[in-house]
């Protein structure tokens, strides 16, 4: 097995373990709340800290994972967009963690949610601009299984992060869940069609 492949597997395993750990931590806190081992304020504060820390970790590894290579073949532009998203998520996560560490709970929820929504809008704007402004088809072979898995996990994290932020201001309406899953399905279809086009293009050029 080549070094690059083994490194990719380690990264995927670490990310999946991280997500399972995050889920286990939140479930353990929910159980502790249910049995009155902790009060609601401690629960909210700890969940806020966990989500903020997750944002920092995901933002940190995002430029290394290169998820946008599934959408475009322009390495220069996609890596710039990934670096931007990474920095934005790390800074938003740092604000999130600081708010839940140092501010009263009501204030912390408002500040962290505002930081989270702004960061998600900036990332969405940057990635939309990348997709709209003459994106090239991705390179054949860019859509490896590990990259697809990481891309799905990243979208799942964005969903958790968005619902945590939006829920404070607007509550979580049913239509938000529906919109998310439609957007998720559309994006997955786009990634699949682009990888099929890229693979088909290389076959046609040989014929």
């Amino acid at each position: 097995m080549s070094k690059t492949t083994s490194e990719a597997i380690v990264t995927v395993k670490g990310t999946v373990a991280g997500f399972l750990g995050l889920m286990a931590a939140i479930m353990a806190l929910a159980v502790a709340l249910k049995f009155d081992l902790i009060d609601a304020a401690v629960f909210r504060r700890t969940v806020g800290l966990v989500i903020g820390a997750a944002a920092v970790l995901v933002g940190n590894v995002l430029p290394k994972v290169r998820p946008l290579s599934l959408l475009t073949g322009s390495v220069k532009r996609s890596s710039a967009a990934e670096r931007f998203a990474g920095w934005v998520l790390v800074l938003a996560g740092a604000v999130y963690v600081s708010a839940f560490l140092f501010l009263p709970i009501a204030e912390a929820r408002r500040v962290s949610s505002f930081a989270g929504i702004v960061s998600l809008l900036l990332i969405a704007g940057s990635w939309t601009w990348l997709a709209v402004s003459g994106a090239q088809a991705p390179k054949p072979g860019a859509a490896t299984k590990s990259r697809k898995l990481m891309f799905s996990l990243l979208l799942a994290f964005f969903y958790v992060f968005a619902t945590a932020c939006i829920g404070v201001f607007f509550g979580l309406a049913w239509w938000m869940v529906v919109v998310f899953w439609f957007a998720y399905a559309a994006l997955t279809a786009l990634v699949e069609s682009r990888s099929i086009t890229a693979a088909g293009g290389s076959t046609c050029s040989r014929v």
């Binding site: 690059t4 490194e7 933002g59 940190n60 590894v61 995002l62 430029p63 290394k64 290169r66 390495v75 220069k76 890596s79 670096r83 990474g86 920095w87 790390v90």
Partner: protein, 100 residues
């Protein structure tokens, strides 16, 4: 993590990372920016690859390098670059590219 610090400690390797921020480049194009032998450059590339800061891909006969840095590693590069500049200001002679 120590391999990352080792990789960032050298000004030539930091310069390589700065060049790769502009986009992927072949080993030959990168080597044109430095007055060192190809063997020395290959050793620098190996250190950067070992630290996971760059990724390489074969494109015909040439090897294309691209940046693969996390946000923390990029921040460390920023710190190293700042301190590197201070060290270079103390030594006003021509910029020196060290051997590995």
């Amino acid at each position: 993590m120590s391999s990352v610090f080792k990789a960032l400690a050298d000004p030539t390797r930091r310069h390589v990372l700065e060049l790769l921020r502009e986009g992927p480049m072949t080993a030959g194009k990168l080597a044109e920016h430095f007055e060192v032998s190809k063997a020395t450059m290959s050793a620098h590339f190996a250190v950067l690859r070992e630290a996971g800061l760059i990724a390489s891909e074969k494109d015909g006969k040439s090897v294309v390098y691209e940046l693969q840095m996390s946000v923390l590693e990029e921040a460390l590069l920023g710190f190293a670059r700042t301190f590197g500049w201070k060290l270079e200001e103390r030594e006003p002679s021509k910029r020196r590219h060290s051997r590995v």
